[in-house]
């Protein structure tokens, strides 16, 4: 097959010269990505340096953010970003995978097209619209729901501290997490759907032929085959959740605190950057850019971890199937 393609190409194009220039072009494109990433990292780190050198390691371990006193501790915002992302994944991942399975394995063919369109439309809604909806409609309506959870679960040790007294306006980690969950469902769904559709029909038929029920077939044939892709889908959603700015800014409540209570107000790194950079100077500006660097580093670390997980899982799977 390769030789065939090769001969057709040489007969049409300019031979080795075209081959070489294509290679250079592709290489340049690849390097450009790396260069842009590197430049972003270098310049932002340089801009943030006054804050890093002023605070040292306590930039990420200190929980006080006090600009007039020049104390810049990002821990509360790192915590906020992590908690909101975690909540959003807890809600979005099962729903998205459910939708994707429904669309690929269960839904009647006629329903698939419209359903996919509707979910994709969800991705086209601007995040500020989600934010406004969240702050004007969802947050106040959720307060009684939060109260109920607090009344039921608040008395239990440990669990009770997670579901402690809700804030009166409803603007909280939980509300932010829920809004972001809705925003990342389309991404995770559409990628999971693609992943599921790559599962060879032969595998599924084999499972069914062995007498598996539909669920056993999904569990035994679909999931193992698509694990890596699913992790990719989740990471993509997580990236969106961590970087989401305006919707979170509107619904998270803008307090600087670290608390287990998911019904309390907090703040997240992108929100802090966007809302405070306008009126900042000197070290304060540097500290805000520093938040960006920390966020960037977190994304890289999570991506790397995810890749490692996928690699291990795939190796295990190959071992099992062969």
């Amino acid at each position: 097959m390769t030789t065939e393609t090769h001969t057709t190409l040489t007969s049409r194009g300019g031979g080795p010269r075209a081959d070489r220039s294509f290679m250079i072009l592709a290489l340049a494109a690849g390097l450009l990505v790396l260069a842009v990433l590197a430049l972003i990292l270098i310049t932002t780190t340089r801009e943030a340096w006054p804050a890093f050198s002023h605070m040292g390691l306590s930039f990420i371990t200190e929980r006080t953010w006090d600009p007039p006193a020049e104390v810049f501790g990002a821990l509360a915002f790192i915590y906020g970003t992590a908690l909101v992302s975690l909540i959003s994944l807890i809600f979005a991942v099962p729903v998205s995978i459910g939708i994707a399975l429904f669309l690929t394995e269960l839904a009647p063919r006629r329903l698939r097209g419209p359903a996919i369109t509707v979910i994709d439309l969800l991705a086209a809604v601007p995040s500020v619209v989600f934010g406004l909806w969240g702050v004007l409609v969802v947050a106040p309506k959720l307060v009684p729901v939060y109260r109920w959870f607090h009344d039921v679960l608040g008395g239990i040790p440990v669990v009770g501290s997670v579901f402690a007294e809700p804030i009166g306006s409803g603007r909280s980690f939980m509300t932010a997490g829920l809004i972001v969950a809705i925003m990342i469902v389309p991404i995770i769904t559409s990628i999971s759907r693609e992943v599921f559709s790559t599962v060879p029909q032969a595998d599924k038929d084999a499972a069914l032929a062995l007498g598996a029920t539909r669920w056993e077939m999904i569990k035994g044939a679909v999931f193992p085959h698509s694990f890596g892709g699913l992790v990719g889908a989740v990471i993509l959603g997580l990236g969106r959740a961590m970087g989401e700015t305006i919707a979170i800014t509107l619904v998270i409540g803008g307090s600087t605190q670290i608390t287990a209570n998911v019904f309390a107000s907090g703040n997240a790194m992108p929100s802090v950057i966007v809302s405070q950079i306008g009126e900042s100077t000197g070290t304060f500006t540097a500290a805000l850019i520093g938040l960006g660097v920390v966020l960037f580093a977190m994304t890289v670390i999570i991506n790397t971890l995810a890749q490692a997980i996928v690699r291990r899982a795939e190796a295990r799977m190959r071992g099992a199937t062969s």
């Binding site: 990505v33 842009v36 990433l37 972003i40 006080t64 953010w65 006090d66 600009p67 007039p68 006193a69 104390v71 702050v135 004007l136 106040p140 804030i167 009166g168 306006s169 603007r171 990628i191 693609e194 992943v195 790559t198 698509s226 890596g228 892709g229 992790v231 990719g232 889908a233 990471i235 993509l236 990236g239 800014t249 509107l250 409540g253 803008g254 307090s255 600087t256 605190q257 608390t259 107000s265 703040n267 929100s271 809302s275 405070q276 950079i277 306008g278 009126e279 900042s280 100077t281 000197g282 304060f284 991506n303 995810a306 890749q307 996928v310």
Partner: protein
Amino acid sequence: MNRNVLSRRVLAGVALVATIALAGCGGNDDSGDTGTDAGSGSNQYANLSGELKGGGASFPNAFYTEAIAEFKGVASKLSVTYNSVGSGQGKKDFGANLVDFAGSDSLVKDTDGVPADSFLYVPTVAAPITVSYNLNGVDKLQLSPDTLAKIFQAEITSWDDAAIKADNPGVTLPAKKITVAHRSDGSGTTNNFTKYLKAAAPSTWKLDSGDTVNWPASTQGAEKNTGVAQLIKSSDGGIGYVDFSDARESGLKFAAIKNKDGQFVAASLDGATAALDGATVKDDLTYDPLNAAGATTYPITAPTYILVRTKYDDPAKKDLVKGFVTYLLNDGQTLAPEVDFAPLPDALKTKALAQLDKIQ
């Protein structure tokens, strides 16, 4: 598959960042053709023509927008734009020569990027910052500076606290939790409000002053004046600081604050002008109307300035800036109350006009 997903994600991110970077690099130099026509208009502004760019504080934005719209009627050939990007950004842009004048609620600091002696302060208007609240059944609320400081420091957490009761004899206060709302974005309004608390309740207030301060964990933040107003409105038991026009527009109730002379005064434009009268004006025309003396003074009154250059390289530009700011100080002052801003007292206005003659 997974590798593909990841690399696609990275690509998308890079594309986005590149777009932003390109947008940021976009030219921003002003090349307004500033030629002064030998106009035969009857008013002093008719022969001004060209383009003026300004930007900065969002606090006086409503006033500047109104004044610019009216100015169009007398100086039809001069186009003035004002971008409400915040005082800090305004000063940065002014220092980088991107705008012809800047609006600022705060004084210029060394770190703002504007060289000293390269600019002049011109006070334009002032406005009260209200302490707005939402408390069912309480239509009249009085607060002393110490009580106010304790509320915003979350030391007083319930509306029926003894300190609030002491400020409001005869008023039945519910045992409701106080929800404190503050600005989550960096803001000149926060700066002035915290400065006031620092000046009026020096022994109680511990959070210092600034565009962003370290608010207690139990308080809540919202974006801009409208966001804070909305947050107060949506939480029963809420209290926060909101500028006068937004508080009125949102239909919020606001508290009367005990001034330096011991009188409880509710936020009003008259109270603000009284505060300007009671403030000491420095030689560079900066003044601090916060916690000013006077029986009718509303103590939380914030000033705002326009920064102009001491020397404009383009003499035509100088005339344009002078023309526009003169308009703000004369005809503009009568427009101010319509948009909920307090005009300058006559003495300060005269000084401000004299300040303009120093522009070269």
